[in-house]
Amino acid sequence: MYGKKVKLRFLFLTLVLVSVILSVFLILQSLKDNVIYFQSPSEIKSLIEIDKKKIRVGGMVKEQSISINSNEVTFIITDFKNEINVTYSGAVPNLFAEGKGVVAEGFLKDRNYFSATKILAKHDENYMPPEVKEAIGDK
């Protein structure tokens, strides 16, 4: 139905696409540690050695774990399997709250203590009016 040239161009395009997709896949696989924006406390726990480089840890702020001293905020990031203690001095974003997502950027002291230089609040995918939230909360 189609001419020979059309078929050849289609074959060429398919080969280009397959090879580029494969290379992108391989690149992303090898860069996995850089592609992920943050690590979970469990991943920190399983680290073989502690890096001196700046890293990011993300998870939920554990309920009733935030304590604010004169110029320091301490809280616990949890992924409901493992926890990590975080200390931070500075202003926290508005959405930073207990039971909400957070990403802390900074340095690992050991597998349990993290000294943050920057706190980012992670917003989840739920959007609803306050009344609905209250109605759900009551149940």
């Binding site: 696409l17 992920i36 924006y37 909400k100 980012l120 959007y127 609803m128 009016p129 939230k133």
Partner: protein, 235 residues
């Protein structure tokens, strides 16, 4: 099917349709803005900052959708040497690029009060930036190689290679840990956005799609006029 894309037949449509599309766009946009800015409730957590979403999310959807269709027409023009397809691709690009930029800027404005940062090199945001770069490359290639016979090949290749990025953008939030939240509006699983916010989002998406269509029709019309001026009834 390809006869449908021939200038003489389609010119009658593209020269008249824009004013109706513009009218529809204005109507839908005013309804959408009223819904999004006034009638829709504030969010329980981010309060009024949620209203940025009504621009950000539709703009991102349109940018992705436009690039996908641009790629399909590019494949068509590359494989079948159909030049009307390549003109359609060319005319689709500008509005997609603009919406891509809008998505990046509104995301940045939203990110500052909610996340606490203007920019993060996470997978979703970076892949969206790459899409903007591909749009820019695509548009520049049309300019640089204008009039050259290989312009269609070069631009098609840019579009086809850039399209690999599209599924990466879509699934970046599922494949990797990202600062960007995962998708709220899902076809296969539950939608985690309240109906009172979903309606303005839908109307705004329709408005942006109409704007995209309007710009596309005007661009395509210009391309057809260029052909007419050369005194050709076909390419």
């Amino acid at each position: 099917m390809t006869k449908f894309f021939k200038p003489n037949k389609i010119f009658a449509i593209t020269s008249r349709a824009p004013k109706y599309v513009l009218f529809l766009f204005v109507v839908v946009l005013s309804i959408g803005l009223t819904e999004a800015l006034i009638l829709s409730p504030e969010d329980y957590k981010q309060s009024h900052a949620v209203r940025i979403m009504y621009v950000h999310v539709p703009a991102a959807w349109i940018a992705l959708g436009t690039f996908s269709s641009l790629t399909l027409f590019s494949i068509g023009s590359f494989v079948f040497k159909n030049k009307y397809f390549s003109l359609i691709s060319k005319s689709l690009a500008p509005s997609g690029f603009v919406f891509n930029i809008i998505a990046l800027i509104t995301g940045s404005i939203w990110g500052k009060p909610t996340w606490g940062t203007w920019w993060a090199w996470d997978a979703r945001i970076t892949s969206m930036l790459i899409l903007a770069l591909f749009y820019a490359m695509y548009l520049l290639a049309w300019r640089i190689y204008e009039g050259k016979e290989y312009v269609v090949k070069i631009t098609s290749m840019i579009a086809i290679l850039g399209a690999i990025n599209v599924p990466i953008i879509k699934f970046s939030v599922d494949w990797w840990n990202t600062l960007h939240q995962s998708s709220s509006v899902n076809i296969l699983s539950d939608t985690s956005i309240h109906i009172s916010m979903l309606i303005p989002l839908g109307i705004m998406t329709a408005a942006f799609a109409l704007f995209s269509l309007l710009i596309f029709l005007m661009k395509y019309n210009t391309e057809l006029i260029k052909i007419k001026n050369k005194g050709l009834d076909r390419l």
